[in-house]
């Protein structure tokens, strides 16, 4: 991943999700696209004919709720026109190789159960439901907060 690839990553994400999130992706690049001592993080891109057609971001997470270090993939996508060509499989294989080199022996991810395309992709790679259960709750805004202040 190079800084010059970021615009194409943002464009793929905007195409897939319908929302351009440039400030978010700039923060992600600063955190995952630049090597950081002592951290195992990677921001991979798949390039075909000088065009970025997919990306994957992962990191090693240590001892979350007592869980031993494991590889986490928290973003992956492939441009719609470049799907069904093994791009996602190549990205995940490269990520897995990096995690193996880092010494972890478990790969995890989390995504919306409505995201059947990506869910099916991870299933096709051999991933199964893990022992973690995602939980969430609605949070009321602070008393007296206006919608603008809440943002």
């Amino acid at each position: 991943m190079r800084r010059t690839d970021l615009d194409q990553v943002i464009a793929i994400d905007a195409t897939v999700t319908g929302h351009e999130k440039r400030p978010y992706w700039q923060r992600v690049y600063r955190r995952y696209g630049v090597p950081s001592a002592g951290e195992v993080r990677h921001f991979l891109v798949a390039v075909r004919a000088r065009t970025v057609v997919g990306f994957l971001i992962g990191e090693v997470r240590d001892w979350e709720f007592g869980s031993p270090p494991c590889g986490w993939v928290f973003a992956i996508d492939v441009a719609p026109e470049a799907r069904q060509c093994g791009t996602g499989t190549l990205l995940l294989a490269a990520s897995v190789a990096a995690f193996r080199r880092a010494g972890v022996r478990k790969l995890r991810t989390m995504l919306s159960r409505d995201n059947i395309v990506i869910l099916s992709f991870f299933r096709s790679q051999g991933m199964m439901a893990g022992p973690l259960i995602p939980l969430e709750m609605d949070l009321a805004p602070p008393a007296g907060a206006t919608p603008a202040a809440a943002r």
Binding site: D114, S120, S124, G126, A129
Partner: protein, 141 residues
């Protein structure tokens, strides 16, 4: 969460057929393998044929074969042919008004159903065949 007998028979059958799509498998072979009556299985296979997942071939060497797309067809697609998944997670108490306890239980059961639906919807026949192969390898080791 428990699938109905016909749904299970459909899943067994589709997995058998998809494992070797070129081969015509007589219904009786599957009926014997899974210990069900051929008559019962015939109704299930007719439904699968109607849905375009298998096709029947008559005559000597006949049977059924898989004609679906194993990389697209999911377990949920097959299940949905035979039952309204999650429609009746909790048996209704006849003539009784719904209490807040009923409603709270429905929230929990709905959560379970939604997770099960996502699981079934994300596993294609191709992925299922990989799982079967993995089970066979671990059994052989």
């Amino acid at each position: 969460m428990r699938l109905q007998v016909n749904t299970m028979l459909a899943l067994y059958s589709v997995i058998e057929f998809a494992a070797d799509p070129q081969r015509h498998i007589p219904a009786v072979v599957i009926a014997q393998k899974y210990g069900v009556s051929p008559h019962h299985l015939a109704k299930v296979l007719a439904e699968l044929a109607h849905a375009g997942i298998v096709e029947s071939v008559r005559g000597v060497g006949g049977g059924y074969r898989f004609v679906g797309n194993a990389r697209r067809l999911t377990l949920m697609d097959v299940i949905a042919l035979f039952e309204d998944f999650g429609a009746a997670s909790r048996p209704r108490r006849e003539g009784a008004a719904q209490t807040t306890v009923d409603q709270a239980l429905d929230v929990v059961l709905h959560e379970i159903d939604e997770n099960a639906r996502a699981t079934f919807s994300s596993i294609t026949l191709a992925t299922m065949l990989q799982l079967v192969a993995r089970q066979q390898r671990s059994k052989a080791d």
